[in-house]
């Protein structure tokens, strides 16, 4: 699957294999308390399964200065 990050620099990571969102977060090192996981128009909960064919956006929810 493709995992797209927009911040701090737009980049994309390829991950192989079906897994839970919570496992993906652990593997890629982002905190689910401060990031949204988006597939198309849908938000995914931590127990949702993501598939090899998916494109997932990981969007930070945190802003401010």
């Amino acid at each position: 699957m493709k995992v797209v990050f927009r911040i701090p620099k737009p980049h994309q990571v390829e991950v192989q294999g079906r897994r839970r969102v919570s496992d993906l977060a652990k593997e890629l090192g982002f905190n689910l308390e401060s990031h949204l996981v988006i597939r198309g128009d849908d938000l995914l909960t931590r127990d949702a399964m993501v598939e090899d064919t998916d494109t997932i956006e990981v969007r930070p929810a945190i802003s401010g200065g």
Binding site: E33, S34, H35, L43, S63, G65
Partner: protein, 323 residues
């Protein structure tokens, strides 16, 4: 995970509330929570005109959307900070939202008000941009609210903002700011309006989820000057704790409101406010911090324009140009 309301597939899980919601029920939950905060702290009534500070980010646009849906009388207020493409995009998104919803929006440019953009203010003051930015925003929001006849100003500060500010206040024992931090601040001077934060119990992830599910087109990119900001570090630390101990942020801030703030408020000395000798706004000093900043920026600009031998002006710069 299943929605606690309808057992459909959940879109948003909220471990801190021991709940998960499908998209429609999450939107209901969010709007109910905002309405509850407004009513329980008597922030404003449906008859009052509310000025909503809108940056173009998720929090302020989510707040504006919710207030419109709840039937409150709102006008948006956007400050163009002059931070390059970031500010242009922020203004664009805010104006697009106002047009699409047929709601009134007031826009003020910092460059017109202060005489310089925020990056220039930072150079003039030799301080981080957030310093002059915060001061300018607070001043312009308050002045505009009063001049335009709004009794209340609403901002999109969320639970993460409040918990991070509280953490900073505690770590550095900033007793003055600790005593003042609150989701609803009554007017303390004829020239100061009421300030409210209806999102104060909702986390940043909750406001972002609402914005995405409502298809609000907000600025996702961060302010380029926020890199390395302490508030972001505090938020990161709090969210690491939250991941291991759900509900910590809410308990931390609500515990402060219940246990510490009343004690600080009753123990603290009453601040004497007077009118600024230059602009007339409420301040504790003879000349307010904003006017002092504008004068400093004016002198900095004069030095840049004039060759070295030219003496500095002996009279202060016009301190409060119209927005």
């Amino acid at each position: 995970m299943r929605c606690v309301k309808c057992q459909g597939t959940a879109s948003v899980d909220l471990p801190s509330r021991n709940a998960a919601y499908c998209a429609p029920h999450y939107l209901d939950h969010f709007e109910y929570e905002v309405g509850h905060n407004i009513r329980s702290l008597k922030m404003f009534t449906p008859d009052e005109r509310v000025l909503v500070a809108v940056s173009g980010g998720k929090d302020s646009l989510a707040l504006w959307e919710t207030l419109i849906r709840l039937g409150y009388k709102t006008t948006g207020f956007h400050i163009h900070l002059g931070i390059g493409e970031y500010s242009d995009l922020s203004r664009e998104k805010t104006e697009a939202y106002a047009r699409a919803h047929g709601v009134e929006l007031i826009v003020v440019e910092v460059e017109a008000a202060v005489g310089a953009t925020i990056p220039e203010v930072s150079k003039a003051l030799r301080r981080v941009p957030c310093s002059g930015c915060g001061l300018t925003k607070r001043y312009l929001m308050n002045r505009t609210a009063r001049e335009q006849g709004f009794s209340v100003l609403a901002t999109g500060h969320n639970l993460d903002d409040e918990a991070a500010t509280l953490m900073g206040g505690v770590l550095h024992w900033q007793m003055d700011s600790l005593g003042r931090q609150a989701p609803a601040l009554e007017s303390t001077h004829a020239r100061l309006g009421r300030k409210v934060k209806p999102l104060y119990t909702l986390s940043e992830k909750e406001t972002a989820s609402y914005a995405v599910l409502r298809h609000i087109d907000y600025v996702v990119d961060e302010c380029p000057h926020s890199v390395g900001a302490l508030s972001l570090l505090y938020k990161d630390v709090l969210n690491r704790i939250e991941a291991e101990s759900h509900g910590t942020k809410l308990r931390f801030f609500q515990g402060y409101l219940k246990n510490l703030r009343p004690a600080l408020a009753s123990a603290g000395q009453k601040v004497e406010l007077r009118e600024c000798a230059t602009c007339g706004e409420a301040t504790t000093a003879e000349v307010c911090a904003y006017c002092r900043m504008v004068q400093q920026v004016y002198r900095w600009k004069q030095r840049r324009v004039a060759p070295a031998p030219t003496p500095a002006p002996t009279t202060p710069a016009p301190a409060s140009p119209s927005a």
